[in-house]
């Protein structure tokens, strides 16, 4: 039976899971969840994700939520080199940089995307300049650390690409659509690294899915 992902690809958290499915060549089905009619809060969906968000995921009897937990499951099940499961120090590095992505990159980026893309495009409003500024400063601090790291190693966890790198792509894709894309000019290694990730065939395929449902 094909694995099921509930949600739309335009969601960064859904896209993260989709790229992992593509990487392992799994059979899967995307089941759309219609937020505008409150489908994410109905009993059927909250039975899969009690916080009423997307994605949720089903593989046989196993139901999961939280995109990074789902991603690790998919990759481990298929012995993917993206998680380095058999090597304790390497897998610890992947874990660590994935947590960094989640806390130091995704958090300020989620605010910037909401302020710069969601509010003007979907909510018809104006963004809060102070909030944007505050989060751009946080993002810059993160990029400073990334720049130093990526000057020494090709990828975040080391010289191998991993889930920690790929986990950035949906949010990085949206960053390039905001006025703050030019930030990357100050961090040349980060810029090259993002371009490398976005050029990956599986990532390009999921980006097309993201565009189709935006």
């Amino acid at each position: 039976m094909a694995m099921k992902v509930y949600g739309l690809p335009m969601s960064t958290n859904v896209a993260r899971v989709l790229v992992c499915l593509e990487e392992v060549g799994a059979q899967y089905e995307v089941v759309p969840i219609n937020f505008s009619i409150g489908e994410h809060k109905n009993m059927e969906h909250t039975a899969r994700n009690p916080f009423g968000q997307v994605p949720s995921f089903q593989d046989g009897d196993l139901i999961l939520f939280e995109s990074r937990a789902i991603s690790k499951y998919i990759l481990r099940k298929n012995q993917s080199e993206l998680v380095k499961e058999g090597d304790l120090p390497d897998s610890a590095m992947v874990d660590m940089w994935l947590d960094v992505e989640s806390h130091q990159f995704d958090r300020p980026m989620a605010v910037i995307i909401h302020q710069c893309l969601i509010i003007p495009m979907y909510l018809g409003g104006e963004n809060d300049g102070n909030v944007v500024e505050e989060n751009v400063e946080k993002l810059k601090k993160t990029f400073e650390v990334y720049e130093a790291r990526l000057s020494k190693f090709k990828y975040l966890a080391g010289d191998f690409i991993s889930l920690a790198d790929l986990s950035h792509f949906p949010t990085a894709y949206y960053l390039l659509a905001t006025p703050h894309a030019s930030l990357l000019d100050n961090y040349p290694h980060v810029k090259v690294w993002i371009a490398d990730i976005l050029a990956r065939p599986t990532v390009k395929k999921v980006v097309e899915m993201m565009k189709a449902t935006a």
Partner: protein, 241 residues
């Protein structure tokens, strides 16, 4: 075992407490807690930054390997030093509740789910409450409590705990039938909430959550880490009603 294992930070930090708790649970006896002078912002200067460029605590060193991010560190500790069903095949009396690495892929995945929930939903809300109500008064120049921030986060944490209540009325631990990192990662902040703020009712008023907290906080390793945290936190002695 564990010679050369160092944790940089202070036990009163709930993130450091998570790592200490996992080291204790894994039976690592000879780790060293290396103090960091937070008041002097030692974590924001060299040489600390060369170990952890984000300038936060904890940082962890095990021989050649340096790690930061408390949950990544904790997973590594449990995998390297912890007991597995392979290394502890028979259950001695009193060891039924051993912290073991998940033995199947599915168990691992469910454990990961609830560790993500702790990181994204539980800790962000509870950390604001703990900071405003317990931490600020311990830091010189920490400032006044912002009750609006407290109220907002009490409401958010309540919603999260309602979900936990559903989960914990069906299984003894978030991770499933056995305790795991997903549960223990909650220890530090929950301890602060219950012992050092007036918002312990958030936990105490939900039977499943209360029972779960009772099980976790009764663990010998948890009591040991609590004693380390108490040296700084100075828990409130609330007058009885």
């Amino acid at each position: 075992m564990g010679g050369g294992v160092k944790v940089y930070g202070v036990a009163a930090s709930p993130f450091v407490a998570t790592v200490l708790l996992c080291l204790e649970e894994a039976g690592v006896e000879d780790y060293e807690l290396v103090g960091v002078d937070m008041a002097a912002r030692e974590q924001r200067t060299q040489p600390y930054l060369s170990r952890n460029p984000f300038g936060k605590i904890p940082t962890f060193v095990d021989g050649e390997l340096t790690l930061f991010e408390s949950r990544a560190i904790s997973r590594y500790v449990l995998r390297k030093y912890g007991r597995t069903s392979a290394s502890s095949p028979t259950t001695a009396a009193g060891e039924e509740d051993l912290l073991r690495e998940p033995s199947t892929l599915e168990e691992s995945a469910v454990a990961d789910v609830w560790t993500e929930v702790e990181a994204h939903r539980y800790t962000p809300a509870i950390s604001h409450i703990v900071r405003e109500c317990a931490i600020k008064r311990l830091i010189p120049g920490g400032g006044e409590r912002d009750q609006a921030v407290v109220d907002e986060n009490v409401a958010k944490l309540g919603e999260v705990l309602d979900v936990y209540e559903q989960r914990l009325s069906r299984s003894p631990y978030l991770a499933g039938d056995s305790v795991g990192l997903a549960d223990l990662a909650h220890f530090g902040f929950t301890y602060c909430l219950v012992e050092c703020t007036e918002y312990g009712a958030l936990v105490e008023s939900r039977p499943g959550v209360r029972a779960w907290w009772g099980r976790i906080s009764a663990r010998p390793a948890a009591k040991k880490v609590a004693a380390m945290m108490n040296l700084v936190l100075n828990p409130l002695k609330m007058p009885s009603a």
